[in-house]
Every structure is written in structure tokens, then in C-alpha cells.
Symmetry: C2
DNA sequence: GACGGATTACTCGGATAGTTCGTGTCCGAGTTTGGTGGG
DNA sequence: CCCACCAAACTCGGACACGAACTATCCGAGTAATCCGTC
């Protein structure tokens, strides 16, 4: 169970977009982190599709946050790239047992499925409770000049 | 981020092993769920390697739980198959930024990494708090004859 | 000097190969069981 | 009748192909800024 690497990139990029405010080209973000530009662009596209970011075409264009940093949770970014489905998927394995009915969905009655979903719900709850603004505040607490330095490095 | 299908199989099998008590051949468990026997065997081997199950060779052999059902948590089974590493892995992306040091590990100072790890910790905590005995109790509450039926189907 | 239009350069966006990990399968090593022959 | 030995069958265990998803990349469509000529 390995999370896509793009999630880490997207989180860092969104944090930077929150500090910059205006649109930043994907290529500049990629250069900032020494990442492959085309692949990072693909991840940013997913953020746009999910409504987390907006894209501005043409010169002086790029990507920017669609909402305020306080309105974007870490869960929003994760879901944008990994999809809305749970990591644990009940395949209705009980339907294949002797006497089981293969046509019904056991995900609501299977105790194992319920326990796994409860655990993932706790994970999602933690991610949903933490916004980009919260993370940004933590960063500022440990490195007060990080926003300024980032803004200077990402604006021409 | 999709969890391996073997996790679901292993959880169901461990629950059944808890009810049967004695060793059950992997082929019989596979037949019970209509699963590919050789592949299920591979997952059960992982459980043995992790110390969750014990294997008994020869006729009348098979797999059985290494500890009591109350001493086996859902997290033990998940870790046995998916590994101990976190789903989110900090690649020290901050080391590639202008002015960053690529040699140091940022996973302890990066606010994003800390938030993601906190969320996974909540997930792990939920899984560690639920044992096979707890799940078995829930199943008995909704289907009191499930242990008897399972034992009858898995013992010759 | 101001305005209109075409050009230009820059941006995103989706379609296209390469590689790793999960899925599925196979056959061999080891052990217990049962039978068999002898004492 | 009891014991030791032997053969056989059954079990797990690791090594071997196949497929899907993630990773990485390219080039084209579209748009805003810019430059130039004209009024």
C-alpha cells in the first residue's frame, strides 16, 4: 500500500501557491523542487479537475488555489490524486462461501469490512481536520521567513 | 492507493482459524471462499513470516493462529501483508529547494510529513485497538451460528 | 500620442512509452500418517 | 499382540510468468501579452 508520490508534490505545491497567491507556472514549481515538469503538470491537472486549483492559460498564467488556504483540507488534495475510493475494498467475499448469496453486497454487514472502514474513516477525519492554513501556520512557527523566501523564489 | 486484496483474504481466514482452533489446510480455506489456492497460500506464508500464524506440515497439517484471537490485532494482519512502511513517504523534497540541504532527512521537520504521519497514526491506532476476538464477537452478535457453520465447513 | 490588429511566445491539456509492483501459477522439499512385516 | 520400518500421500515453501497501475515524457490547442503600423 504505497501512496502516489504525486500527493507529496501536490501538497508542497499547494502550500506554495497559498503563499504566493497569484498564478505560478507548473514549470517553475517543478524547477523549485527539481522535479520532472511534465509529470508534475499531470498532478496539477488532477487538482484542477477536483476543483482545488484553477489554471490560467497564456503568459503570466499558471496554477493558483481555487479557494482560500483555510478552505482546502489535506483530504481534498489526497482525494484529488488518489480518488475517492477506500484503500480497503470489500469484494463481497462472503458471497462465495457455501450458502452465501453472490448477488447481495456484504460490505454493510461484514464485520471485517466495517472495522476496516471505521479505521479509514479515522484517517480521513484527521486529514479533513487539517487545512493548508493550519500547515502553513506550523511552518511559519518553525521558519518565519519561509513564506517570504518561497514567494521570492517563485515570482520573477 | 489500493490495499492488497490479500489483506481481505487474510483477515477472513484468520477469523475462521480462530473459530476452528486446529490447523486448516490452505487449500480448504481457498475452496471455502472460491479463491485461487496457490495465491492464498502465498498470503498465508506472509502471515507465518510475521508470526501471526503457524504452519504445520504433513497430513492433518495446515495453518493455525500462533496466538489467541484476542492477542491478534487487525493491524498485525495488515502489517504482515503490506509491510511496516507508511503509505505516505517523505522523500525529503525540501532538500532539493534552493538553499536546502539534500543530505539531511526532513521527515521530522517537514510540517506536511508530520501531518500525514499523524493521520496514518490515527488509522493504525484504530486497527491496533480491534482484535480478531472483537470482530468475532460482532459476527456472533449478528449471526450466532456462524462459528458452528464455519467449523463444520472447514473440518472433514 | 493613441488605437487596432496581427504576431509571438508562453501556458495548459491530453495522448503516448517505460518501469515497478501486485496478481496468479507452478513444481519441489519436508513431514506426518498409515500400512506392513517381523518379533 | 506389540513394535519398528517403509512407503505413500499430503502439506507447505520458494521460484517463475502475466497484467495493471504508477512513473515519465512528448507535442498540440488555446490564450494573453507584446510589437508594429496606422490614424
Amino acid at each position: 500500500m504505497r501512496m502516489s508520490q504525486g500527493v507529496e508534490w501536490a501538497l508542497h505545491c499547494c502550500l506554495n501557491l497559498a503563499w504566493v497567491g497569484g498564478p505560478v507556472p507548473g514549470a517553475r514549481l517543478a524547477g523549485f523542487y527539481s522535479l520532472p515538469p511534465a509529470y508534475l503538470n499531470k498532478q496539477l491537472q488532477a487538482l484542477v479537475r477536483a476543483g482545488v486549483c484553477e489554471s490560467v492559460p497564456g503568459p503570466r498564467g499558471g496554477f493558483r488555489l481555487a479557494r482560500g488556504p483555510a478552505e482546502v483540507s489535506l483530504l481534498d488534495v489526497v482525494v484529488a490524486l488518489e480518488g475517492r475510493e477506500d484503500a480497503f475494498r470489500c469484494t463481497s467475499i462472503l458471497g462465495a462461501t457455501p450458502g452465501g448469496d453472490p448477488t447481495v453486497d456484504h460490505s454493510g454487514s461484514c464485520a471485517i469490512s466495517l472495522s476496516m472502514r471505521a479505521a479509514e474513516l479515522a484517517w480521513r477525519r484527521e486529514l479533513a481536520a487539517r487545512s493548508l492554513a493550519d500547515v502553513a501556520a506550523d511552518v511559519v512557527r518553525s521558519a518565519p521567513d519561509a513564506p517570504r523566501r518561497t514567494r521570492a523564489a517563485l515570482t520573477p
